[in-house]
């Protein structure tokens, strides 16, 4: 479904991604783990068109997308739930959610998708009319996830959904992710809660200093000595 080939990405002169290749098959949950600064967020930003690669390509459903604008990429079916939420703080919860559905196809279905989002996060229905700036950190994260689902994506990219969430809520978010996959949505997930993430993911890639250094089944990587030492703190 998604095929990333030999990506090189730079910030000015410093190279953030080196010859990165990765693929995500339909209905997979693929995780991307690595230390902070390894390039995980850069990779998602490149896939969603926020950054342009110096070389290499990104294909989605057989089509080159690495020169397309972010809003076009989103219309093709890739949704990006960014690190740090990035909500519109002067708008209400409901307005933030509806903005996720601004493509014409999604806009027609927005009432229905909104109900689905409210089913996943009931508190957002209660807070629908409240300004996003008044939300707690964790509630804000729920809005960011909800907004990402409003476009009815085929592929949903999560950049650290656990950020700022209470432990119990994070377990719930992982359940949501599994549920989305059952609904037919493919998942590419960055997450620092490495153990739970590798247990949940079908496959995972380990990124180190801008390069993919390991790839494998999530459960196999959990047993990998290098992964244990570098990311699980064991």
């Amino acid at each position: 479904m998604l095929e990333v080939s030999n990506l090189d990405v730079f910030y000015g002169k410093s190279q953030a991604l080196r010859d990165v290749s990765l693929r995500v098959d339909e209905k997979e949950i693929v995780a991307l783990v690595g230390a902070n600064g390894a390039g995980k967020t850069t990779l998602l930003n490149t896939i969603s068109g926020l950054l342009r690669p110096a070389s290499g390509s990104v294909e989605f459903l057989g089509q080159r997308i690495d020169r397309l604008a972010p809003h076009i990429i989103m219309q093709l079916g890739i949704s990006h739930i960014p690190e740090g939420r990035k909500l519109f703080s002067d708008m209400t919860v409901r307005e933030n959610l509806e903005l996720g559905a601004y493509t014409s196809a999604a806009w027609k279905r927005r009432k229905e998708t909104l109900e689905q989002v409210y089913k996943i996060f009931p508190v957002l229905k209660e807070r629908g009319g409240q300004s996003a700036s008044k939300l707690s950190g964790g509630e804000g994260q729920m809005v960011a996830i909800g907004r990402g689902l409003m476009s009815s994506p085929r592929l949903c990219m999560f950049d650290e959904p656990s950020y700022g969430l209470a432990p119990k809520l994070f377990s719930e978010v992982l359940e949501v992710i599994k549920h989305l996959r059952e609904e037919g949505i493919t998942i590419l997930l960055i997450e620092q809660n490495v153990r739970n993430t590798l247990e949940t993911a079908d496959r995972a890639y380990v990124l180190e200093n801008g390069q993919i250094v390991l790839e494998g089944k999530g459960k196999d990587l959990l047993r990998d000595e290098q992964v244990k030492k570098a990311y699980l703190g064991l």
């Binding site: 910030y11 783990v33 230390a35 902070n36 600064g37 967020t41 690190e83 740090g84 939420r85 508190v123 008044k134 939300l135 707690s136 950190g137 964790g138 509630e139 994260q141 650290e160 950020y163 700022g164 969430l165 209470a166 432990p167 119990k168 809520l169 994070f170 377990s171 719930e172 620092q192 809660n193 490495v194 153990r195 739970n196 030492k229 570098a230 990311y231 699980l232 703190g233 064991l234």
Partner: protein, 245 residues
Amino acid sequence: MHILEGQGVTKLFGGLAAVSNVDFHVDQGEIVGQIGPNGAGKTTLFNLISAALPFSSGEIRFKGQKLNGLKPNQICQKGVARTFQQTKIFADMPVFQNVLVGASFGTPNRLSQADAAREASQKLEFVGLSAMSATLVKDLTLVNQKRVEVARALATKPELLLLDELMAGLNPTEVSEAMELVRKIRDEGITIFMVEHVMKAIMGICGRVMVLHHGEKIAEGTPQEISCNKQVIEIYLGEEAHAGS
């Protein structure tokens, strides 16, 4: 000695009690944790202590002296520094200048320019960011931005440091490093009050933990006591997670 003490602290947002009649204290030299579900009022309590928000009723004392009515900058100069869950930094300024702001304007006694600069570079070294001193803060990862906030807070020479989710976004190995940093700060004689969801950190470094839920304090105790508390497991930890990861 109670370095920080709150009595009947209450904050209403419209009809909603974000913090409701909370009594709490932090002793000198302690590392105290604050946990609770999202929306429980943890950050709001920090906002009341640091006067980012006015409170509705109750009082907070720092070293016996009332903080009510003081401005955020005055509270900082009295020795209470903080970091933010959603980083509040000068994104277009280099790392060093961000920390210099703390050393220049936040300290109890005004430092000379030279002293402030020396203080700022020491604190950058302390948090391990010396190499990025000239980088614009917006070009840092979120995690390093949080470290800039820690350095900026330390540069104000605080006696009490409020840390709001310093560990968020760190993988377990990085959490261990950050725990080391917090211990190191405490060993410098700075008392720590921290909001954190990463239970490994709470269990590993806090002497005492308080739990907020719907704005009320529902439990308090050692990390071990708290992690076995049925209500805390039910509302916060979840069945499988209380070992932390």
